[in-house]
Amino acid sequence: MANIRSRGGQLEPHVLKSVFALLVVMLLTGCALGSKQPSGTLGPVMALGVSSDGRYAISTHLSKHLVLWDIERQQREILSTNANIYSAYFINDRDAFLWQDLNDQVRVQTIDGEVIQQFTHFPTYGHVMDDSLKHYLASTKTWDIYHGHDESLTPVMRDSHSPSVVGSGKMLKLRLAENGYLVSAGTGFGEVDRRPIDSEHPPVRKLDKLRFSSNYAGVVLWDVNTLKPIAKLAGNNVKVDAAISPDGQWVVSGDENAIALYWNTKSPEMNYDLAAGVLGVYKRNTGLPVGDPRKWDKSGLIPVPMADKPNRWGNRHLTTDITVALAFINDSQEFLRFGYRSHWVALFEAGNPWPQKYFDLGDDPYPSTASYLRSLSIATAPKAQVLVTGHRYDGGITVYRYDPEARTLTREWVGE
């Protein structure tokens, strides 16, 4: 569009005709043209990152698009139509993001388009990089974690062939904290997650000595400086998501079996239950029989949002404890817990089991909470208090801003 104006700033007659013809074409082709770009319709967001200042988001889509969203100007730009769908990741405190193309080239690229680093790598299923750009960690399809690339490629977690079938349809979530802590979360499995970190259960095995399933697929805390596990954060079951606070002090988790826990990383051997929205905090070792309501402490519960009419099973609850994602929203102080197939989120304070407030993200567009495979499509900029989600049914994003004083979450922009 740069050349259509004449020097005087007036539109040339032939240009006017072209514009008119274009308008006719737009009318004839229907109202959906707005969602079309020269490079095609965007599929749903599979992975997403938000810049630390909350100004930009980067997303990769099922349709292989890589899109840079300017949240402040409410614009978007398609940067590639050949992107690894799980590869969008914004680097903390940088104006640069990570992505990989389908020729296996990983790029560290600035919002201005400058490529700072580029290297060939295995197809990544989630990757992260710290702000020094020294630590690059990526997961393989089978949930092995490697550090570095090319000659410096080092396995961090590689003890099995596969994440196990109950993890199918989920990404191994990797999240970095500013102090060099990394948390990984795949599938929880009590017996396995409680095994110690020792020479009998090493996180890395030789390729011909791999186990049939991993000892490290649950929630695990790592140190990227040593590339060793600090602690296995046991207690979750089946598909589990986790988040680490920006300062590295807190890890929070939630899973497919509605178990949600938190740890202070200073004493990672102790875990605590987050309250279930309706039932409360589970009291351990009470000796009470199964199903006894006295096993739940309800003292700090707040009312949960309810629908006006029950669904066909008589249920009026709008929230669920089945968790698809968690993300810190107010630096290291507060985080959000996203229910599976729910457009309601619960606000929690770090170190406090009780939900503080519930927010409705809205159902038009519906946020991308309906798939564990898309849990990376929910991302925050905790210091800027910005939340960005993909959409359940289309390729757009929705931007929300959290006000910690008023404790409100406001929808700022629906980018389509």
Binding site: G30, C31, A32, S35, T41, G43, P44, L62, S162, S164, V165, V166, S168, G169, F189, G190, E191, V192, R211, F212, S213, N237, V238, K239, E256, N257, A258, I259, A276, V278, L279, Y282, V290, G291, D292, P293, K295, W296, P310, N311, R312, W313, G314, N315, H317, T320, D321, I322, Y340, R341, A370, S371, Y372, R392, Y393, D394, G395
Partner: protein, 354 residues
């Protein structure tokens, strides 16, 4: 056959798919109610076409009110299946097996509305034509899924093509009633066909007598079968009793006179009062369809999940339609068997860990 295997000390695992669940549960219910030498190890109900109360004692043949329904049930909610021909509950089946696993998928379009995430259906009016085309070309499973699933229409008596189930019983009892009370049963038949006035006192008298005769015959049959039943647990040498009027209760191990009487009373209600059209507001959902989501706030379930005694695993990735096991995908044959079953057993037993 199950009894022969159990008597020979052979460990038995049973897998039933769809209506096969009824076959398996009937066998297990007979074993459970009559007593068996040993229990089966595992019963896998793979997308079973039975109601969600199939394993409960919530049978229609009881006078006690259902649990949690002491208050009047919401008319919009599915209630207990009350008509007597459903053969839908197997209250003793759990006693004959150590463990029951139910597999269900949200993408099963036969047992309920399929709930597929459709990222391909991005909002664009021009896609609607394509979607309509996809619907027409889709497998019948997907099509019925969009219409709410075939299972939920199991008691439909209209259109007649789908009405097979109840139509069969109706004809059967008319034939048997005619034989038992000649000259009287035709009146009921005619009433059913709405060809004569039900206000006619003499017709009503004849219908009542016909139903009473049928009730007596049903109770007599129960008494007769019970008297012929050998004492002690079931064994493979003794054939199962043959039923006539009590055929819809053949999945029960022991049919007491009381049970037969309740059955007859409900049969009469169905035929005489309801014109063979079950009055259930809604069919109960298929076993597994509702899933953990709707019961997550029940103390009992939550306790079991919190202590890892129950695992809730979304099966949608592997069971992408009602009969997905017919397609040999890596997920089903390698992942679910090798990794989901064998490896988990190995992890728990610590066998082969090194």
């Amino acid at each position: 056959m199950l009894l022969q295997l159990l008597e020979a000390d052979i460990r038995v695992n049973v897998i039933g798919h769809s209506l096969g669940a009824r076959v398996a549960l009937t066998a297990l219910n007979l074993l459970g109610e009559r007593g068996a030498p040993r229990r089966l190890d595992q019963l896998f109900l793979w997308q079973p076409a039975v109601a969600d109360n199939a394993l409960s004692p919530d049978t229609p043949f009881t006078d006690t009110p259902p649990r949690n329904e002491l208050v009047p049930p919401d008319p919009n909610r599915p209630g207990r299946e009350v008509h007597p021909l459903g053969m839908g509950t197997f209250p003793g089946a759990h006693r004959a097996v150590r463990n029951i696993v139910v597999l269900h998928s949200h993408e099963d379009g036969i047992l309920g509305p399929s709930d597929r995430e459709t990222p391909g259906e991005w909002y664009d009016p021009r896609d609607w034509f394509q979607r309509a085309g996809t619907f027409i070309e889709a497998s019948s499973d997907d099509r019925t899924g969009k219409l709410g699933g075939a299972y939920s229409k199991k008691w439909w008596t209209f259109p007649p093509e789908i009405a097979g189930g109840l139509g069969y019983f109706r004809d059967y009892y008319f034939e048997r009633g005619r034989a038992l009370a000649p000259g009287q049963w035709e009146a009921a038949c005619l009433i059913h066909l709405q060809q004569r006035s039900a206000d006619d006192a003499s017709v009503r008298y004849r219908i009542d007598r016909a139903w009473e005769a049928l009730t007596r015959a049903i109770v007599d049959e129960a008494r007769r079968v019970m008297a012929a039943l050998p004492p002690g647990p079931l064994d493979s040498e003794t054939p199962l009793p043959e039923y006539d009027l009590l055929k819809p209760l053949a999945h029960r191990g022991i049919i007491s006179e009381r049970l037969a009487l309740i059955f007859a009373r409900q049969l009469r209600q169905l035929g005489q009062r309801d014109g063979w059209q079950p009055r259930d507001v809604e069919v109960r959902p298929a076993l597994g369809l509702v899933g953990f989501v709707e019961v997550q706030n029940e103390d009992f379930f939550r306790d079991k999940f919190r202590t890892n005694q129950f695992d809730f695993v979304n099966q949608t990735t592997w069971l992408f339609e009602h009969s997905a096991m017919k397609y040999p995908t890596e997920e089903i044959f390698v992942k679910s068997y090798q990794e989901g079953i064998i490896n988990r057993i190995k992890e728990k037993s610590r066998f082969g860990q090194y």
